[in-house]
Chain length 588, copies 2
């Protein structure tokens, strides 16, 4: 069983987002729906053949710290080699760099198969792709020459090194320091924490991108610079040189996501780790955010893929497991029914469907914006896409990591006791997904980012949603949803307008605003799907008719069961409630 529905993926890509239209642009003119389909087929096949089979094994045999090295099961390397050989690291990169020059939205859709099959193994690829993207954008010619081709081929893997033991969410407190050398390079010293893929032997080299403070730099985030610090130094001719001064100090042992090794690294225990500056001095955070934003979309999509895999398992279980009888069946000798026949089981499945398919549409919509930002003809279109992406990124990261985890919770519940055992896959998916609300900026940090920095981008988002409302108003059966989305949208804009009147309370309740905005955005993307489905239903029959009816029913579920939650969140934000602000430590 694939961990996501190809029919649904095709629906979002081709019917909702119309990604085949991108082939009309010069960057993608070598592509067609046929090449996109071939990429998705390959992704589905490698995910099923190379990633899925060791997902549980990697969970049960997590990476081990052995004499300063990391030992892990061999299947991880084998799977990643197949992944790299098929070109997935370089999927969206320029053909000139050896890439497939695919639209980002198609490349991301392909990645979803790997994430759903085995997020622990896919984690190494996610970081390497983001690392390569950052270097492509900000690296010097020399850095690009020495590292980029090897990252794209999978000969080198990448990391991002931000957190330190005393500085998790608070990057202002980063202490790692960089001492300028006579030749223009730097020697770094400091302790880095939570480094995914920080040490392993999956690739010949590891390219660390490290936030540090050049000696004498200002305090706070404005004194941070970004450095490229390789595990093995790379000679000018591209061969590997000496081992750099980076020591593995320990591993973190996680509840889930165990396949991705998570390290404590000590830079510069001896003479200092040799690194080179990426971008301008003291501008490291801006560069890192290039990678962070991509990683955040990747985290959101990962959360969706894990939720989606759980939904598929739960649906499969509910269609085969027999248990109990309908309320009207009084005769205990009548045969038990498949549990999908129970309305409460259908509630749990429908909620999962609404969360994971809504989440998939959200993440792919965001990925499509990256393509717009890069390739739209008009500058106005490109800047519109950029603005949309900015305001949506915290939602893309946080919404799936909350609601697709809720889907995983429901997938366990559908399985009953079996779902709680390690003999079934859903408990691991739940443990794996719990990470996503934490890493790459906790959801609390996403909320502050949205309210504190991104809220100005709201009007451009509002325009998109209003356009959808107008379309839906003219479609029979969707009029009520159009009204409900319009009302919900007013809640978001009303909340945003209330913000300056009560800054302290608004920042204190930023999480509620994120909840509110997230649910309204996903409702919008459900209505977009419903519009397509309603039109397609006019001529659909058989399985296709059932597919589109399912879309409409999931949309109905989201509008009836989920969207009304925004009324309460709206009130808390605009009143505004000060219960948490007023609470004192001594009262706990």
């Amino acid at each position: 069983m694939d961990c996501l529905s190809r029919r649904d993926l095709d629906f979002v890509l081709y019917e909702v987002l119309e990604v085949d239209r991108l082939c009309g642009r010069s960057r993608y003119r070598e592509h067609s729906r046929a090449t996109f389909d071939a990429v998705l087929d390959t992704a589905a096949r490698i995910a099923a053949e190379q990633f899925a089979p060791h997902n549980r094994l990697a969970d049960q045999n997590e990476p081990r710290f052995e004499a300063g090295r990391v030992a892990m099961i061999p299947q991880v390397k084998q799977a990643l080699q197949a992944f790299c050989q098929a070109g997935f690291i370089a999927a969206s990169f320029d053909a000139g760099l050896g890439g497939l020059q695919l639209p980002v939205v198609v490349a991301q859709a392909a990645l979803a198969f790997f994430k759903g099959a085995n997020i622990g193994t896919e984690g190494y690829a996610l970081l390497t792709i983001a690392n390569a993207n950052l270097l492509a954008a900000f690296g010097s010619e020399e850095q690009k020459r020495l590292y980029l081709p090897h990252l794209l081929s999978g000969r080198f893997f990448g990391t991002m090194c931000l957190s330190e033991p005393q500085a998790g969410s608070s990057l202002a407190d980063i202490l790692t320091r960089a001492l300028p050398q006579a030749d223009g390079s730097y020697r770094l010293a400091g302790h880095k924490m939570w480094i995914s893929g920080g040490e392993h032997e999956l690739a010949e080299n590891i390219v660390h991108l490290v936030l540090a403070r050049i000696q004498g730099a200002p305090a706070g985030v404005k004194g941070l610079s970004l450095f490229l610090v390789p595990k093995f130094l790379v000679n000018a001719d591209g061969t590997l040189g000496a081992r750099n001064d980076i020591a593995l100090a320990g591993l973190n042992h996680k509840m889930g996501y165990r396949g991705t090794v998570n390290c404590v690294l000590n830079f510069g225990e001896k003479e200092g780790a040799l690194g080179t500056l990426v971008g301008e001095p003291h501008n490291g955070l801006a560069c890192m955010f290039h990678m962070m934003n991509e990683a955040r979309v990747g985290v959101g999509l990962g959360a969706v893929a894990l939720g989606y895999a759980g939904y598929r398992h739960a649906l499969d279980y509910a269609r085969t497991r027999t248990q109990g009888r309908p309320p009207a069946a009084k005769d205990p000798r009548s045969p038990p029914v498949r549990i999908v026949g129970h309305a409460d089981v259908r509630r749990m499945l429908l909620a999962q469907k609404a969360y994971v398919e809504g989440g998939l549409a959200l993440c792919l919509y965001a990925a499509r914006l990256v393509d717009e930002e890069r390739t739209a003809k008009e500058a106005r279109e490109r800047s519109r896409a950029h603005a949309l992406l900015e305001v949506l990124t915290p939602i893309v990261k946080a919404w799936p990591s909350e609601w697709c985890l809720a889907a995983n919770d429901l997938a366990i519940q559908v399985h009953g006791g079996y779902g709680y055992t390690r003999e079934y896959p859903v408990e691991q998916l739940y443990r794996d997904n719990r990470l996503n609300a934490i890493h790459e900026g906790t959801n609390g940090i996403q909320a502050l980012d949205l309210v504190g920095r991104k809220i100005d981008g709201l009007p451009v988002l509002t325009v998109e949603m209003e356009r959808c409302v107008e379309k839906a108003r003219r479609i029979s059966g969707l009029e009520l949803f159009a009204e409900q989305l319009s009302e919900a949208l007013q809640r978001v804009t009303g909340a945003a307008e209330s913000f300056p009147r009560a800054v302290d309370a608004a920042l204190a309740n930023a999480h509620v605003f994120l909840e509110l905005a997230g649910h309204v955005v996903v409702a919008w993307l459900w209505l977009e799907q419903a519009i397509v489905a309603a039109r397609a239903l006019e001529s659909a029959a058989g399985d296709e008719e059932a597919f589109y009816r399912g879309k409409l029913q999931a949309c109905r579920f989201f509008f009836r069961w989920e969207l009304p939650k925004t009324e309460h969140w709206h009130r808390l934000f605009v009143d505004p409630d000060t219960t948490c602000l007023d609470m004192r430590d001594a009262w706990f």
Copy 2:
């Protein structure tokens, strides 16, 4: 650190529930607040000294199947011996049976310490106590003579054997059969699944209470009888005889709650397992529900204790961990603050406080009703308590297993990345607590129980809540809460009245009714706490003043952030929404 606040426990027991008043009743006349306190002190001490230290160890070294036996770490047996020797199995039993004859509410409060410290080890005790209670109520004189004293001393442990591989929630499909023997005993044969404590060497014997069908019995639940089937036969003189025909077929490997061994048992692979009938033939389910109801209150309290332990850890972490600065602090050189200083962290702590302290009040209120049911002077009072307990049991089981799990989720989030690692305790608490929505009847089954069987008990519950509303209306600062509870209460009664008009939709949406009723009940118990706190504040100072202010603030949180959710649930139930009912399998 204790896994629950003794100050809060004393508040609920003595200030809200006034359990010391029970000492005026003849059954408890040997007791006083001093003896209750001594019991709670002992429980806290043994929990901290014997249960907590091996909680993580037992999680990391779960019971193993070895040549038909169960092997586990020795600390489990040692802890349970200390537990039994201190009299906790027999805590609420008659002095004549060697019990402490404590009120059930005090005995349950004592158990909460063990559950919070190590729910896996406490699980064996929970089952043994419930088993002994069932035998005391329905066992024959012979059964009581041969088994009860040994259960109460901890020489024997107990189980409940209901589920079978093909029959989890659907007890009507139980296939295990019982063949009557010439001497009045039975020989049983069948497969039992999910048997907690089904095999171990923690006690000399294991007393299985088994649901089975006497040859020729009717189909369905009305053909089920209950049998006592010991692991070792017991001779008339009390010595142990031959091993019974019960084979350990395998263990289930759970996500959490790993310390409690969970077994697949085959009864009667050879000549048939020897058992004796408990109660009347074909009346087994009624007997078993005596044990089930007690187990359900125990499950609810377990969920509270796990949530509570997580809250205490999160609070401790938030008070010591420094990170970031308040929004107004612009200077990055200013020192970072303790994270409890961030409003969003206080939100997460306040939500946990509202859930776990609300849950504790709920469970202890229910336990107090057991005492009322047994010892109230007037028959009317006893039957009122019985009716309240009936309608509350599904809520006591389901509400904490949902919302105190939500508390565990927030406890992880407060810890950030650390909370996701196995080096910190909160991830285990989260995994452990996830079981509680499943076992002893899934929350879906609790919802059907509430809507299908218990809804008639609602008026007696309504009277209690209205009494609270009247009290609160006269207390300065609580008037608004009184109005809000009154309105919320009308939502519950309105929903209940709408039920007969749309039976199918109501049964399909039973889960929403359970959510609605649960939140209103907990809001009521928060208002009861607030009434006591508001009065006490008139003369409190220092730590005591802070404690009561915390109670009022948590009540305010529940009424502002949680109770309004009932508006949405109410609409879904009364409209009623048929989205899930209408959904078809083919549309997924």
